[in-house]
């Protein structure tokens, strides 16, 4: 059963995000724009193929967009720690009757739901407009990968949001992360044709693990064994990030 502090954090996050249209734009609309503009653009204009038999670029990129949405929502949610700190409410909230893990979990809970809504919107758009053959029989795996993915990335980002005091420094960190994590991964292209060093970096990148699971869940690409290993690795990554984020929150006050 959900504790009342957990429910309180969840309702607070929901109210803040639901009543501010900019959050809705960044969380829900922005990734769809990527799928339509970038995906269709590359697919149609450059005649780019995924390099995988029978898989066009739109289909290949679908999992990338889902991973990008998870990553972006997590980044936006962790940034709210800065907003709370600037508003002073962060420190007041640390005196509220809740455990640190409830604070952290409550903050991400609503956003995993947003991530899920975003993922479903993307799937609907991909199926209806782009005619991508989505594997609906693997929908539960897609839901699980989206929820765990959004939460895992939020915990990871939260470590930095809670440790770094300056907003500009945090923005620099997130920009670098955005570039490194997204491009050194299987988000935009298959890894096989890449130089060895690049491939190693991408395989060590947790977003590759998440996107590979999402790709397996959406269009069935990948073998079950390696996908299972990647899924376990991402869960472990999320658990470690969660523990580190709680420690950072305890140190904050």
């Amino acid at each position: 059963m959900m504790t009342y502090p957990l429910a309180a954090v969840l309702v607070r996050e929901a109210k803040i995000r639901a009543t501010n249209s900019l959050f809705i734009f960044w969380d829900l609309v922005y990734p769809l724009g990527y799928l339509l503009v970038f995906g269709i653009g590359v697919n149609a204009s450059l005649g780019f193929t995924s390099g995988l038999a029978g898989v066009d670029y739109n289909a290949f990129f679908l999992a990338g967009v889902l991973g990008m949405a998870s990553f972006g929502i997590a980044s936006n949610t962790s940034w709210s720690f800065f907003l709370d700190r600037d508003n002073g409410i962060f420190y007041e909230m640390l005196t509220y009757p809740m455990r640190r893990w409830e604070h952290l979990l409550g903050k991400v809970l609503f956003n995993t739901l947003v991530g899920l809504v975003q993922a479903l919107l993307t799937i609907v758009l991909a199926t209806a407009l782009l005619r991508i053959p989505v594997r609906f029989d693997r929908l539960p795996l897609l839901v699980a990968a989206t929820l765990v993915g959004t939460a895992g990335w939020f915990f990871f980002y939260a470590i930095f949001a809670l440790r770094i005091r300056r907003n500009d420094a945090y923005n620099t960190v997130t920009s670098v992360f955005y570039f490194v994590f997204l491009f050194a991964s299987s988000m935009f292209y298959p890894l096989d044709p890449l130089p060895r060093v690049f491939r190693i970096a991408a395989f060590a990148n947790p977003i590759t693990w998440q996107i590979d699971v999402l790709r397996y869940a959406t269009i069935g690409v990948g073998d079950a064994v390696s996908i299972t290993v990647e899924a376990i690795a991402f869960i472990l990554f999320s658990a470690v990030a969660f523990a580190a984020a709680i420690r950072a929150l305890r140190d904050a006050g």
Binding site: N87, Y96, P97, M98
Partner: protein, 335 residues
Amino acid sequence: MSTPAIVVKNLVKTFGSRLRPIRAVDDLTFSVQRGSIFGLLGPNGAGKTTTLRIMTTLARPGGGTVDVLGYDVVKAPLEVRRRIGVVIQDQAADLLLNVRDNLLTFARFHGRAGPPVRDRAERVMTQFGIADVADRKVQDLSGGIRRRVQVAKMFMIDVPIIFLDEFSSGMDAILKRSVMAMLRAEAAAGRTIVLTTQILSEAEELCDDILIINHGRRVARGSVHTLKELVGRLHEVTITFDRIPPELETIVAGYAPERVVVQHNTMQLQLRDEEPRILELVSALGRHGRIQHLEITGASLEDVFVQLTQQPAPSGIERPSLQRAGDRRSNVPGD
């Protein structure tokens, strides 16, 4: 006699590097009685906010213990948080929520929700003069209104202890008086209120019990009356003449005043002497000039505070710079 609401024993908090540690709180021991309004006073950097942060579980002590209603702030922080409401020194409001949602969200964190809480929110907003902006986002409101929202939240819940760090900053005089009356009523109903303030008249008017600290150490403790006794026989005399008598300097000098300020036709004196001697001085001045207005008061809490916090810092402890007693200007004509 009931057990104290808060017991602080040998509290220590150190900041800075290991090589150059700064003791913000240095072996502080005190207790706060239930249902009292307790004032924690001290100059800037005295350790008030650090002490408050430890009592409210926002910071961990470096040494010593703090019990809030029997719960140790380190061992049982959640139990402590269930029993306290805190107005921190900085402004703290959810800027992206409207005023009403700020109050309701705060109540929800304390396990309060539903129609009675909504009704209570309406009453509290009316009390704090923020009912007309109930549906506006706090980010669109002034700093003063934001502070009202912050303090108003404390009246949404019934926790036994409230901590207020500089609660009145940004409040106008009328609202401040109203909030002070509300705090008194809360204390009378059994709530314990711990406050820090730089506005000593506020503490003088509100607090049943005051602890003055400096350099993280206890300087004095007691009721306003007890503290005033500590500086003893201090009087403030204000006299307005139709014109300043030429013999003023000579007459006043015979009574060894601690401070003399003359502005236009008004003279303010601070004297440490018995009442008959004060009256004798007034009488002497009255013989040399026509007195239009006379006011004699005992020491204010501010006088007590200034006197008590001007002790030299213990060696090895960093301290903020303070104005020394000898720095006070004497404006006696010809001085």
